[in-house]
């Protein structure tokens, strides 16, 4: 009987009331997650940013084992274009098992930090380190220059950067990384069901907005409300792109920890490939204030960069160590979070949410709506 009454109410109310569940305040907050896609300018620190030849060369190199010292594998081994530029392994495996999960490489253009610990302040630096990283491509500058010189890409490389033989090996390394970066800048996730909802709200088209499932709407309400998710996952990318402790254990073994942001900053501040360094092509050094003024603190220890949630349904498993197998597991993690385990200053924002099964399902529906419908 109750069901019948409810149904009748919906029919009667349909003409005057839409099924948008959000309050005006919630609508305002929802608008801040867009519009999508965001318009991006070329990277001033990379002179081949947006250059079509560089993009094509970068794409080819990304997928070619020429970038690894022993031609063992390409960047795509871990960042598989068929799997949203990651793999389903918890932790990346190249030569050895790496400590961390492989991030998807979409929506990276224009960020302030790269990597789980933010060890790079530009996309070209983040593309450069894996080339010479021993656990990844394991090239030296010299072996890279030799490999490019002897490869089928030499003509394309010289068409962009000139005669390779008169280039210092370090310049070849930076140039190669800048083509990879030019390519990676073009990778973005498309519009989603959430974006249609958000834009409908902006246009005050409640009829169109009502196409967005109510479960996802309730999940969104939790996300910006009681769940506190929006404190860290905000803006069009659903990330503040800063570093936090989300309660994921950071012990690698009984004696070793993943120091996260702490180590990322040590690395950043001791290497030459920053926006304040000589390899930036930007005479005005626009982004350099970041590395110049970033503060270090003991609470950086074991914090990690807030991941973007766009396309998140396509990139399981989750967290810096890939320890949570699906979105349901992530939400249960936040729901049952052990605040005692939050280290350093702790994240006073996180608290045990004790979500109901319904709420867990709603949050999952919301997160799934941030990915393209297959």
């Amino acid at each position: 009987m109750k069901v019948l009454v409810t149904a009748a109410f919906v029919v009667l109310a349909g003409a005057v009331r839409s099924e948008v569940l959000l309050s005006d305040d919630e609508i305002q907050q929802t608008l801040s997650f867009g519009p999508w896609p965001i318009s991006l300018q070329s990277d001033p620190s990379n002179r081949v940013s947006s250059d079509t030849r560089a993009i094509a060369l970068g794409a080819a190199l990304f997928n070619d084992p020429v970038l690894s010292a022993d031609s063992a594998f390409s960047c795509a081994r871990c960042h598989d274009p068929e799997q949203a530029f990651t793999t389903s392994d918890a932790r990346a495996f190249g030569r050895v098992l790496v400590d961390r999960n492989t991030p998807s490489l979409r929506n990276l253009a224009g960020l302030r930090w790269y990597g789980w610990g933010g060890k790079s302040d530009s996309l070209w630096a983040a593309s450069l380190h894996p080339i010479i990283e021993e656990q990844e491509m394991a090239h030296s500058k010299e072996s890279l220059k030799a490999a490019i010189s002897e490869s089928i890409y030499i003509d394309d490389f010289e068409a962009i950067f000139g005669d390779i033989q008169i280039q210092d090996p370090e310049l070849v390394l930076v140039n190669t990384a800048k083509t990879l970066s030019a390519y990676l800048e073009t990778l973005a996730t498309g519009r989603t069901q959430f974006d249609d909802f958000r834009d409908a709200l902006e246009n005050q088209d409640l009829a169109a907005a009502a196409n967005y499932p109510e479960a996802a709407q309730r999940g969104l309400q939790l996300f910006i409300g009681r769940g506190n998710c929006v404190f860290c996952h905000n803006g069009p990318r659903f990330s503040n792109n800063e570093f936090h402790d989300a309660g994921v254990p950071y012990f690698l073994s009984e004696t070793e920890v993943d120091d996260g942001r702490f180590g990322g900053l040590n690395f950043l501040l001791s290497n030459a490939y920053t926006l304040d360094g000589n390899w930036s092509d930007d005479a005005e050094k626009q982004g350099a204030w970041v590395v110049r003024s970033v503060r270090r603190s003991h609470s950086d220890f074991g914090t990690f960069r807030t991941p973007s949630l766009r396309g998140v349904a396509e990139t399981a498993p989750y967290m810096h160590d890939g320890s949570l197998i699906d979105l349901d597991a992530v939400i249960r993690h936040y729901s049952e979070i052990d605040t005692e385990r939050l280290h350093a200053d702790g994240e006073a924002i996180l608290s045990e949410l004790s979500l109901s099964e319904q709420e867990i399902a709603d949050l999952t529906a919301f997160l799934e709506s941030l990915s393209k419908v297959p």
Binding site: Q28, S32, P35, W289, V290, S293, V294, R295, E347, I349
Partner: protein, 125 residues
């Protein structure tokens, strides 16, 4: 595009001078020289600048700027850069609020050997 809106929680003590230099900051010290702060629209996680004006005729030897979120002790991840513009006006650049909510802006000003702290609450929605 919708921006994060910002406004000051009205603090006690109406501004008497310097109205054009923004909002008066509060201090627990009685008869402290007046310090005003002016800021443009603040966008979440984007750098912004503020302008500080000391409205009384006193010599200022140093100005330091910081901010925290009292609710969960998050501070600034980047050190503000202070530039003296002359006439007791200072600009702080590279300010960045990386979370929405209430931020307490804190300005420590040295007048000779006397150091006075000022605060203003800023809500980033």
């Amino acid at each position: 595009m919708i921006r994060w809106v910002v406004w000051f929680l009205v603090s006690s003590g109406a501004a008497v001078a310097c109205e054009t230099a923004g909002q008066r900051m509060s201090s627990e010290i009685q008869n402290a020289p007046k310090v005003h702060v002016a800021l443009d629209e603040i966008r979440l996680s984007q750098p912004f600048s503020i302008l500080l004006t000391v409205c009384d005729d006193v010599a200022v030897s140093e100005v330091r700027v910081d901010a925290i979120m009292p609710a969960h002790q998050h501070g600034l991840n980047y050190a503000p850069k202070i530039t003296a513009l002359g006439d007791r006006v200072f600009r702080a650049d590279n300010m960045l609020f990386h979370m929405p909510g209430l931020w307490e802006l804190r300005v420590d000003t040295n007048f000779g050997r006397r150091s006075i702290s000022y605060t203003s609450d800023v809500v980033l929605k």
